[in-house]
């Protein structure tokens, strides 16, 4: 199923599923991720410390005190990929968004030759797929946006983007879980907390493989949320 398996330093390996990025490739990455997580929990494989899916790769870290690259590679090569299924039922989320908090809609409207309402209605129609979560805690990388809305990153990233900001670049849409610097085109803001640092059983709302659709709310609803 994957194309290459590389060592990453002395305590990780990465499974590379090929250069293409699409749902089919990514859902294979996620299937393998859930399988390894399950095997690890049931102690069928020992020493795996972290497993990180990205668009087309799965990074597997391990504890050198308990295992080594050779054993992990052997374990991965023993997996019957045809028998893998998505262990966890994907969730379909509907997240509120208030477009009154946009920062870039005017510029986008000029660049894309679409009026603001059209941009919003295209964005609201999209069903986004969560390819991966990361960079910072709870931060989802989602796609695919309608090609009519494809734009590059801002030339100069902003020093501060407010928490909850929803941004787009190329075919991707993301949500900033914290106030942070950022170079994405900001089209609105969600009041939903993507990350809960108090709940260790479920710190992150979204999981890789879930889908997200946005629901428009007013400024008043946002403030009362």
């Amino acid at each position: 199923m994957f194309k290459k398996l590389n060592n990453i330093g002395d305590s990780a390996v990465i499974c590379d599923f090929g250069e293409e990025v699409n749902h089919a490739v990514n859902s294979n990455v996620i299937k393998l991720f859930y399988f390894i997580e399950k095997q690890s929990k049931s102690k069928s494989v020992i020493g795996i410390t972290n497993c990180t899916p990205s668009y087309n790769k799965l990074l597997i870290n391990f504890d050198l005190q308990k295992t080594n690259s050779k054993k992990i590679v052997k374990f991965i090569n023993s997996i019957d990929f045809n028998g893998l299924s998505l262990e966890r039922k994907k969730k379909e989320w509907v997240l509120p968004i208030c477009y009154d908090f946009e920062i870039d809609l005017n510029n986008m409207s000029k660049k894309l030759q679409l009026d603001k309402e059209e941009i919003i209605s295209i964005h609201l129609k999209s069903i986004f797929y969560v390819y991966m979560i990361g960079f910072v805690p709870g931060h989802p990388f989602m796609g695919d946006l309608d090609p009519k809305l494809f734009l590059n990153r801002l030339k100069t990233p902003r020093i501060r983007v407010p928490a909850g900001s929803v941004g787009v670049v190329e075919k991707f849409c993301n949500i900033y879980p914290y106030e942070s610097p950022g170079g994405w085109n900001i089209i609105g803001r969600t009041p939903t907390k993507l990350f809960n640092n108090k709940d260790s059983s479920r710190p992150c709302l979204l999981s890789p493989g879930d889908t997200v659709k946005f629901k428009k709310i007013s400024k008043k609803e946002f403030n009362n949320y």
């Binding site: 330093g9 305590s11 805690p137 709870g138």
Partner: protein, 319 residues
């Protein structure tokens, strides 16, 4: 809950609770965090006869000034640290690393500086009273995760510990910390993205550690590494010790609090056995890289584990 505690009179610049790290959440964007210098961390716990992975206080550069308000405490400080103990008579006594002290109510510990190193550790017998988050008490400040609401220690905080110390003989161990300039690495999967000349240079020149260095990463300065393929790759999972090279050609080594996903090509990875040595190097000093094979790295790791057990086995009573 226990009510034995220190009060923070000065927090120091970067004082956090840490343990061995928090594993199993990287797919949610949460890196492992944990003590930067594992050898010094294990030793601090071994000296006060704690579980080896018990939570400790980690500090960098300038450490905290703590006053023991309630209960007597057995403590140990490791790393390469200058500190004083201010006793009940108000006298300042020079502290020594790698040994224990019986601290009495009213005494203070003033951790002035990490000398020839960056990180130091304070362990207390019986451990600190800190809240677990996903099986760990490590603080990830960037994500506000871990004890103390994921924040650094601040002034007037109470540092609570589990049990009162019954005054007993102190323990010590002699160690001879070495500073190493040559850090061993394994080539990264994007090694071929860089020109032949830059590949050779990478293993022959000295890099300076810049002040833009923290728990997330260590930025180096040296001859720009020339990328001949692409300065961006598809974002992928990041492992601690990755040496990534952004478009400006200046390498960044990703450390414990690293971003979990990133899109820069990686020229090499620090081997696990040399990670603590890397961590002890101060901004302003230089380092060079040596390329080795995976099998050598695994052997070096086993040797390092043996060395740590030997140090712990050499802990003796002070007569």
């Amino acid at each position: 809950m226990s009510n034995f505690f220190f009060k923070v009179l000065r927090p120091g610049v970067n004082t956090t609770y840490q343990d061995n790290g928090r594993f199993g959440l990287q797919h949610f964007g949460i890196s492992a965090a944990g003590c930067m210098d594992k050898e010094s961390f294990f030793l601090a716990n071994a000296l006060v006869r704690n579980k080896i992975e018990e939570g400790v206080l980690e500090f960098a550069y300038q450490g905290p000034l703590l006053e023991l308000i309630k209960g007597n405490a057995k403590i140990a400080i490791t790393g390469n640290v200058t500190f004083n103990i201010i006793n009940l008579k108000g006298e300042t006594v020079n502290g020594e690393c790698n040994r224990t002290y019986n601290l009495l109510v009213g005494e203070k510990i003033d951790i002035l500086a990490t000398k020839e190193s960056v990180y130091g550790y304070l362990a207390v017998a019986g451990g600190f009273v800190v809240k677990n988050f996903f099986n760990s008490v490590s603080t990830l400040v960037k994500g506000k995760i871990g004890p103390n609401e994921g924040k650094k220690i601040s002034i007037d905080d109470e540092i609570i510990f589990n049990k009162e110390n019954i005054i007993s003989k102190n323990l010590f161990v002699n160690i001879f910390p070495k500073t190493v300039n040559n850090i061993r690495v394994i080539k990264g999967p994007q090694y071929d993205y860089f020109s032949k000349l830059s590949q050779e240079e990478f293993f022959s020149v000295n890099y300076k550690i810049t002040t833009l260095t923290d728990r997330m990463g260590m930025r180096l300065e040296g001859p720009a590494i020339e990328n001949v393929i692409s300065t961006n790759i598809r974002s992928e999972g990041i492992a601690k010790g990755a040496i990534q090279v952004p478009a400006d050609g200046q390498p960044i080594i990703l450390l414990n609090d690293h971003p979990t996903i990133g899109g820069y090509p990686k020229i090499a990875y620090i081997i696990s056995a040399d990670y603590d040595l890397l961590i002890r190097k101060k901004p302003g000093t230089t380092l060079s890289f040596k390329c080795i094979e995976l099998s050598e790295a695994e052997k070096a790791y086993k040797e390092k584990q043996v060395k740590i057990s030997q140090i712990i086995n050499n802990i003796r009573e002070i007569n």
